[in-house]
Subunit: 251 residues, 2 copies
């Protein structure tokens, strides 16, 4: 199958394209829905981590044979695309938070960050080869609405959205014990750092040593708000510049 056909197929799946469904009505009714399968897969991922999500495991969870899943899905890649779209949305869309653009973005980002820390398995499913589903487009649309009255150009708005998204996901990856189940004991950062201290001659890393002596600990705290505020400050400065330019022209 060509890459193009593949794209089209997954798109059809995500968007529930009738063309991808069988036409006739004969034969026994289906015992499952795609939604049930996706829900079961997500439950396994939440409870035991992404590596535990196998076709066999999901089928067993639903009480059906493994091969049956392939009458609902073309393969695991499609299951993953559906899982990703299913969790793409928080309870509140970005533009629905109160306040100005900055308050909305900050509120949404903190909410999103909490979700990322709770469901780190989502981070391993992203990539440009995945196709956006309805929920992902809903989110993107909402983000763009937040920037509506800022005076940014459309490409700038998009880039800002992508920057915020990239920052959250990147930090999640940096900090998350991504493969672990949700109920595993938290990763022992202190122990890791202690082990490092025993083995490593830190005098080779003077700036790092100074930071540690000052009480800072790499990858130990939650640096999310810091970076978020820097990013928002930067965006705010650009918006102020655009607004000033407009003012000039208006005069």
């Amino acid at each position: 199958m060509s890459a193009k056909e593949n794209q089209r197929r997954i798109l059809g799946l995500l968007w529930d394209d009738p063309a991808t469904r069988p036409s006739g009505t004969r034969g026994p009714g289906r015992g499952l829905t795609r939604e049930q399968i996706v829900t079961a897969a997500i439950e396994v991922a939440e409870a035991e981590g992404l590596p535990a999500v196998s076709m066999r495991r999901v089928a067993a969870e639903l009480g059906v044979g493994t091969a049956s899943l392939y009458t609902y899905l073309r393969g695991k890649a499609e299951l993953e695309a559906l899982m990703l779209d299913a969790v793409a949305l928080g309870d509140t869309l970005p533009h629905e938070w109160p306040g100005d653009w900055r308050a909305k973005l900050e509120a949404w980002a903190m909410d999103d960050w909490a979700a990322i820390r709770r469901h780190p398995w989502t981070l391993r499913l992203h990539g440009a080869d995945r196709l956006p589903g309805p929920n992902q487009l809903r989110w993107l649309d909402s983000m763009l609405r937040v920037f509506e009255d800022t005076g940014l150009t459309e490409p700038e708005k998009l880039a800002a959205v992508e920057a915020l998204d990239a920052y959250s996901r990147g930090l999640g990856l940096l900090l998350a014990e991504v493969e672990a189940p949700a109920d595993a004991e938290p990763y022992d950062v202190a122990g890791r750092n202690e082990g490092l201290r025993e083995l490593v001659d830190f005098s080779r890393y003077p700036a790092l040593l100074a930071a540690i002596r000052a009480g800072a600990s790499p990858y130990a705290g939650d640096p999310f708000p810091f970076g978020l505020h820097r990013l928002l400050d930067g965006i705010e400065a650009l918006i102020a510049r655009r607004t000033a330019e407009r003012g000039d022209r208006a005069e």
Copy 2:
């Protein structure tokens, strides 16, 4: 094996702890080095993508039996940790670039971004459960040195480093066809967007529609410099504030 012992073991491996090596001298000499294995694994990843890196494949590449690798490495996780540390460094460390802190960071970030686009497989190997190797600490030390005269507190410096790193890696993941080999044809973003246009009723996404009508295309361009500049602007504003505070106190 406890998580603690496991940590300690990987640390020893990364840092070449003699305690992890056999003590006696009997038996035949070793035919390989860990470095050779890591190099071979990286070559496979570069040429055919991360999924092609299997223990069997790496062993075959080196002309040895698969099981032999396990006399050099405890398992694949350790191979991955070594691969990651081996590519952790660009040609130029952040603090070695010319100019002030901002010029250094921008130069390094653009260089790092180019490396990420060239070697996207590295993005799938990160996580807090991975332990930093010597090269990763060298990089961290260098980044902290860049912030030396900025007046930021040590935790702020660390958070800034982590924010920049998170942004680059996060955007890399958003844009990269991560699993693909380096020589694969580039992902057809235009075709993807075209396929979407056929299937999706964009009137449900007015802000997105407006952006597309204005010529913006989601995830199609290279938004890296935009977000980088916003982040650096935000950090610069903070540094200016800290400098002003100092000035106040000095008077």
